[in-house]
Symmetry: C2
């Protein structure tokens, strides 16, 4: 069976877990504490980041975007019109644009700050950057998420799913990033009911269940986190 090196609250890992589940692929999950910079892990991904997918007869596949393209190329066609990266150039551009929006822009502006300050730093030794959270970074993440939430609402008022009329990688990436922030209780859902409705739809999918059951020692999930009717 494949192995996925991940962290429970790494949004990029969650994106790949959702995608693999939608493809019907199973993997053994191995939790990786990237700040330890373990040599065997660095051999799998010299960039030292999760997620990394290891399948039999292939070198390791490192990084959420590389894994997503790899899964599309090796398994996408079999999904027919449920393919997560749709066929036409136009739809592929829009799906990739928005997947990148969340995996990169939302991460840089929101989820990286909140996960780093509120979770990772608690587990990292002081000499590797651990310690008390920086409130300025948390405040920045909480301020920035508001316009991303609005953007989701704006898109969903025009389309059924983020990139068009069907579920794509863009929805899975966005929901993965929102889900870690939601675990921490930092998504102001009241500010956009359309965005909330979209997240409720993604959250109700069977692929989402394992994420909702997950917890991190010492930081309980926000009370509504696993509630499908939040």
């Amino acid at each position: 069976m494949a192995i996925l090196y991940h962290h429970p609250l790494c949004p990029h890992s969650r994106f790949v877990r959702l995608a693999m589940s939608e493809y019907g692929l199973e993997a053994d999950l191995v939790e990786e504490k990237v700040w330890e910079r373990r040599a065997p892990f660095l051999a799998l991904n010299p960039a030292g980041a999760t997620p990394v997918l290891v399948e039999a007869s292939m070198p390791s596949v490192p990084g959420a975007d590389v894994i997503a393209e790899y899964l599309d190329e090796t398994r996408g066609l079999a999904l027919g019109d449920r393919r997560l990266l749709p066929e036409s150039p136009r739809e592929r551009v829009e799906t990739r644009r928005l997947t990148d929006w969340f995996n990169r822009k939302f991460f840089d502006e929101v989820s990286s700050h909140l996960v780093m300050e509120k979770i990772y730093k608690r587990f990292m030794p002081t000499n590797l950057g651990g310690g008390a959270p920086e409130m300025a970074a948390i405040r920045a993440g909480r301020a920035n998420i508001r316009y991303h939430l609005k953007y989701v609402g704006y898109l969903i008022r025009q389309r059924k799913w983020l990139a068009g009329d069907r579920l794509t990688y863009a929805d899975l990436a966005a929901a993965a990033h929102f889900s870690v922030v939601d675990y921490l209780g930092d998504v102001p859902w009241d500010e956009d009911e359309t965005a909330r409705g979209w997240y409720a739809r993604v959250k109700s999918r069977p692929s989402f269940r394992p994420l909702l059951a997950e917890s991190v020692p010492g930081t309980a999930a926000a009370p509504h986190y696993a509630d499908l009717d939040f």
Copy 2:
């Protein structure tokens, strides 16, 4: 003809210009000052970043990685064994891993700091973040580039090109990022002769010529910048 919104020292724009030239595609170049956040430009790319490719009969294609995948899917096959994203899943993983390494990791650690502090800030109004360069950021970029240069040398001691035995997107992305830092005179080529040899090979390609002829008002290129035998 296609239009490419770019900035002369934006490394992601340079990567796309190199790729388009290798594909034999021409585009009208339109310089975009992203910090002005022009509404018509934001309509083409809500993320507000260069590069953006606009072709007839297609919505805009925003972002270097999205453009690279789009070009591969619409023009790649015609290049046969000169395709910049090779066919096999294994080679595609390695090419994408290293393209992402430079477009993201090298950018975050090196080229974004140096271009922002030494170039963009000179043209940005003070209220949009312009002003004197932050020396700490410049020092960080100059320190970080050293291990990236070593990594290029390490790879090229095992392979002809960065991702394998042929030129790929990985070489173009890496060379694009190194080229902007080289324009500023901040690549310590003396520290790795193998990496220097690789860059000399990429720099000698016809696709590179327009980049070497480019200049930015008020900041002259380092003396060896356009020299093929540096």
